[in-house]
Symmetry: C2
Subunit: 517 residues, 2 copies
Amino acid sequence: MYRDRIRLASLQDKVMSAEQAAGLIQDGMTVGMSGFTRAGDAKAVPFALARRAETDPLQITLITGASLGNDVDKVLAESHVLARRLPFQSDATLREKINNGEVMFIDQHLGETAELLRSGQIAPVDVAVIEACAITESGGIVPTTSVGNSASFAMQASKVIVEINMNMPAGLEGLHDVALPVARPYRQPIPLIAVEQRIGLPYIPVDPAKIAAIVITQRDDSPSNASAPDDDTRHIARHLIDLLVKEVEAGRLPSSLQPLQAGIGTIANAVLHGLADSPFHDLTMYSEVLQDSTIALIDAGKLRFASASSMTLSAPVYQKVLGDIERYKSRIVLRPQEISNHPEVIRRLGLITINTALECDIYGNVNSTHVGGTHMMNGIGGSGDFARNASLSVFVTKSVAKGGKISSIVPMVSHVDNAEHDVDILVTEHGLADLRGLAPRERARAIIANCVDPSYRGPLQDYFDRACARGGQTPHLLEEAFAMHLRYRDTGTMLPAPAVVPVRDAALLTAVEPLAA
Amino acid sequence: MYRDRIRLASLQDKVMSAEQAAGLIQDGMTVGMSGFTRAGDAKAVPFALARRAETDPLQITLITGASLGNDVDKVLAESHVLARRLPFQSDATLREKINNGEVMFIDQHLGETAELLRSGQIAPVDVAVIEACAITESGGIVPTTSVGNSASFAMQASKVIVEINMNMPAGLEGLHDVALPVARPYRQPIPLIAVEQRIGLPYIPVDPAKIAAIVITQRDDSPSNASAPDDDTRHIARHLIDLLVKEVEAGRLPSSLQPLQAGIGTIANAVLHGLADSPFHDLTMYSEVLQDSTIALIDAGKLRFASASSMTLSAPVYQKVLGDIERYKSRIVLRPQEISNHPEVIRRLGLITINTALECDIYGNVNSTHVGGTHMMNGIGGSGDFARNASLSVFVTKSVAKGGKISSIVPMVSHVDNAEHDVDILVTEHGLADLRGLAPRERARAIIANCVDPSYRGPLQDYFDRACARGGQTPHLLEEAFAMHLRYRDTGTMLPAPAVVPVRDAALLTAVEPLAA
């Protein structure tokens, strides 16, 4: 019974339909919704809002933790509710509206949004919509599978709508650790010095008078859409593990390594899976999202503790974790993304970070967001928060895409999210380039030799050689820097056209020679 | 007498010539030298090393705090002593050797070098050469006008050479605050919560047994080479102050603002000078370098306290400060650059950062380092440390260079050091673009309207309009993205060639018309 989940009796009469709750949201408002990488998103109010917009058009600024599941972004985009969207998304329909200029998308470091709200540098949240598994005796909101920016939204909004999701076990309570930096100039150090440490409350503290509506839902998170490991991702994992073994042997890392971060998605997930067969033990994670691989490593006894801001799992692993939540709660904590992604904590703990590059150049600059330099894929997410402050910043990518027609490594990336200063290691299925302490020309040699697909090695080496002849710290031929991108656009492949094979058969020579004679 | 400056008696017999001390440095070694933005650099041993190399060739990796004065980098480069150089430089001769590939230059965030050394990710310092004004009773080294990376070098090196500079007043003792993060996993929060707070020792603690040589010198720091404010920089200052006034009025900043950081150089220095005529008071600085403007603001009663890693002043201001050091010591502290530039402290204190862009694009991506996308100017310095973690990240630049032949604002920067995520405000003499909370297309409109020189506004607007027609979150025409750069290279100006003016005078029409008829 949902009444057990609302432990502050005075809030029981705030239960209403999603349509009624959505009525609190007005045209022009900024709305902060829970949800981080498909986990713990609001599942009723956004749909009610979209239905209402069919007859009563309205537009809002929507801020979330990160991406949403359950097609929320799709439905809101289709009903033209979204005027502005930040700080991340991963929906195909919304992406199209972003790229055609219909929706203004602000691509932000995921650790910064809360700070921008707190300091008033972006418009404040009017209404917060937060998925919860319970409301405590004090009116505290207990989140579900993500914390994201929910605490910041709920604390800033004048009205809070709580969606209590009965599909989420009440036992999730105790999984979360909610603490946020205070406003300046009274800010103290964040006291977190170990991944398992708890520094806050197990719920989001809010003035109960602000809880204006409670909506009861019963719908699962969208499951993770990461693909299973394949041969390429297994090779990537193996190259990286080989490096980490050498780092341990050299005394630069302990055999428990340092806390791991892995970006969302197939490759980073696969790399973590690969650690199950590694010699390391008592591993820890300090990441923004936990994927299936985290649970596998915990179950295998390899991973001692994992801290993140959300859990995004496949359906069977979801079921397993939610069904045995008491056991997993001793190994996992979920925090606000301002803490999971905070430069202060990342630098202090000395993370080994593993993030996926959309494309990378021969000098190690990384494009994490823009297809062809112009079209937004998802967003920078936490890659910048983590890569900049990591102890060891690793980027992974398959060397080619589209069956070899795209090289993930190009002369110059068409958009820079993470500059070469923040990229220590680059890994593809072909090998690993250890870029630490190298100058750009040395970085290029290491990347071309180790990471590039053989079919592109010649063209990239040729570009680099001709660029070096012109000099510079970072040699380039500006007039050719994007030639591979343009060739793909115009011909469907980045590969150079095959050289014209001279026709040398005897018949033709015979036919031609008399004319030339 | 220099003997008063060596208070640990057992070290008195370590005094030797620069030539003898330089003998401790061997081919292939990594040498860490004091010096940060021309301040507090070693002034004898590097020259002895260069002289020795004439007959006894050797090559070293040289790590410093930042740039050196007194032509040290020039002389070392000319004598081919430098195989590798990090993390920053600003010397014309060395720059040429970097750009022709003779010296491998590793351009690093200035706050990260000490961390990379501590974690063993770059080769360790064998010998440290540190300028000091004294050695304490315990063998502690008291730095002079900069701390830089000197503490990290001295603590890691097996041999330390101290240059005691008799031109530096003994009264500098007490100016410095030396504290560094410890190795992981025992790292605690950095306890700094206010710019004036002292958290360490007034000297660099080293095992006296490691002090292998003491060299006595008597030579001044090279004075600052920043130019005086001009009309353009005064306009830039005025635009920025107008914004800050509005931020205070809106309640987003207190009337003492938040701690200020300003990059080295003419424009940032001029902006700070402009604050003397502002309504703000009790200002503070948390920067990497203090310039003349800092002293002017202290003298004007505007600036309450300044924290940095070095002081780089013009000759007369140097004289004034060193001659009255007891008074200035109550207003200034110098720290290791790992602390002055630490993400943890910068984020906590909420800095307003002011850094100079070499070039910027219509979306607000900043090139801080590479002329024409290829040739190194100085290095990223602290701009990334500060801009990423700032509360308000401002970049300043004059709108044009080379008498209008170069627009500082281009369609796409030819090299990215600070990506648009980290650029809140862009200011030129023409105006200010407030980019907070804007999507890329909105950023472009704000930058073109407010910051671009009128002679380039048409071409940039045209580029942007045609790019938008193709769509994308960040519209670009990849085949034209560097057309302005290439035009400058090929014709000496980024300005488009004047359109051919149709000849329409009557005589010509008369002459031509019969033929056409």
